[in-house]
Amino acid sequence: MENRKVDDITYLKEKCKVIRQHIINMIGGAGEGHPGGALSAVEIVTTLYFRVMRLDPENPGWPERDRFIMSKGHASALLYAVLAERGYFPVEELTNFRRPWSKLSGHPDMHKVPGVEMTTGSLGQGLSVANGMALAGKYDGRDYRVYTLLGDGEIQEGQVWEAAMAASHYKLDNLTAFIDRNGFQIDGPTEEVMAVEPLGDKWQSFGWHVIAIDGHDIIQILEAIAEAGQTKGKPTMIIAKTVKGKGVSFMEGKAEWHGKAPSGELFTQAKKELGCE
């Protein structure tokens, strides 16, 4: 059992490496995109799709599937890379990212990309949609789970707190949300632009079960998800401390790489650091 676990973690780490390579190739190749917040959430989304969620890429509309909503839709490169690697569409299509007439727009469109559960991009809206899916699951007596990923800047939107209130009011324990706590939004550190701390206390006071983890530690991610699955009567918020631009030295912890593509020598360097061929 322990060996199996080690194998799983090794496999997931390898997968994360491949996903990061896709992300930098997509954004660098397109000359635009959002690398910072895509790279910071790689372990979370990869772990969900390759280890946790009940899915069938051959049948994306399977009613019993677990759902994931990328509320921070600007991290589309991450979502597309994971979906392609998971078998929803050919990996070769990733080179179309943000190219004119392509289906892989800067923010994901559910009608264009197989596996995308919900069209997102305008911040603050994903948690409400996840609530609706979780409510329907409860009403229908289905045991699927709903996951969503929010940015730490995104939670400045008022709608997030409306949804936070509703999720605990309706006791949506089939809902697990993540905050990608990389500390930065496009204009700078969250605490300078519009302070979001104390983050855990806020969600706890809204009636959520709150777990704080290192968002790059796959074992901690798995344990937190397992804990969320056992939590009854309330939704769970996993606050995942991450590094913006994780894996590319000159992007790490820099707000300026929120929505900018590397070009020239920096693109070459980023690819090298991420082990691209």
């Binding site: 919900m118 603050g124 809206q125 996840a130 409510l135 329907a136």
Partner: protein
């Protein structure tokens, strides 16, 4: 089919509340959502009957729209209700991005549209919704004239797959129809006439009929069209009126900018051969009075409609 008397019956919102019960019985995928206004929107009737399929979202319209999207993505048919002003503006971007853009099967059925809240004041009036909603791709926009038409429009909206916006009023509405074949997008010609055409929507259909009755006593034959669907608009009915009458007057409980009048004028302008006069709220935030007084005050009195019709006919 001209109204002989101005018989008032139940409001369109009462009709909506009753229809919801019928729909709830027939289709267990129907969910009804409200933002703490269920007594006013009459969704409380559904709530009492089907509590497990009624979601009170509290005073949070943005979250309500997103939650409706999530329900629709899970095979439900959410009917979302609140006042027109809050659905279309407080939660306008959620309606656009989380409902219209992904083309989800959500029905947004609102009450207290236009000036129907009378003395509540401009915060609660809604003279902008038709303009906003008809500019959203995928969105169907409907304004029923009376209780029966409301019933049929709500049923048609549920049958239709995709987002639909229906605007209802607050107060009692005159009876327009005893019976009706209703089809989304197909205008109803209430009476034929060759002199002038009155195209009205929602609560104003009753006034258009009254005006036509008065015009008849002045030997003017007015055609009256109930344009219950603002989008997709019935171009055929408009172009027929262009061909067969001397001019068109539009009538709506909405800003003259962007609503029915604009929609009709767009069709006519592209045809390039008819005159259109628009009656509606004259691009101001309105004062308070009883709704009938406000509609008169802002130029939609029966006398004013008749005067405008006469001047249009005689301006050759």
């Amino acid at each position: 089919m001209l109204l002989e008397t101005r018989e008032l019956v139940k409001s369109t919102r009462e009709a909506f509340g009753d229809t919801l019960i019928e729909l709830g019985k027939a289709n267990e995928n129907i969910f009804v959502m409200d933002a703490d206004l269920s007594e006013s929107t009459k969704t409380n009737k559904f709530a009492a009957r089907f509590p497990e399929r009624f979601l009170n979202m509290g005073i949070s319209e943005q979250n309500m729209m997103g939650t409706a999207a999530g329900l629709a993505l899970s095979g439900k048919i959410p009917i979302v209700s609140t006042f027109a002003v809050f659905a279309t503006m407080r939660a306008g971007e959620q309606v656009r991005t989380s409902i219209a853009y992904p083309n989800l099967n959500v029905k947004i059925i609102v009450t207290h549209s236009g000036l129907s809240v009378g003395t509540a004041g401009a915060t609660h009036f809604c003279e902008e919704d038709l303009a906003i909603m008809r500019s959203l791709p995928n969105m169907v926009v409907i304004a029923p004239a009376d209780a029966l038409e409301t019933d049929l429009a709500v049923r048609a909206a549920v049958e239709y797959k995709g987002p639909v916006y229906i605007r209802l009023g607050r107060g009692e509405a005159p009876v327009i129809y005893k019976e009706l074949d209703y089809e989304i997008g197909k205008a109803i010609t209430l009476c034929e006439g060759k002199d002038v055409t009155l195209i009205a929507t929602g609560i104003m259909v009753g006034r258009a009929l009254e005006a036509a009755r008065k015009l008849k006593t002045l030997n003017v034959e007015a055609r009256v069209i109930d344009m219950h669907t603002i989008k997709p608009i019935d171009k055929e009915a408009i172009l027929k009126a262009v061909e067969e009458t001397k001019g068109i007057i539009t009538l709506e409980d909405h800003n003259v900018i962007g609503g029915l009048g604009s929609a009709v004028a767009e069709v006519v302008a592209e045809e390039g051969k008819a005159r259109v006069k628009r009656l509606g709220i004259p691009d101001v935030f309105c004062t308070i009075a009883k709704p009938d007084q406000l509609w008169d005050y802002y130029g939609m009195s029966v006398n004013n409609i008749c005067d405008l019709a006469l001047s249009l006919i005689n301006s050759d």
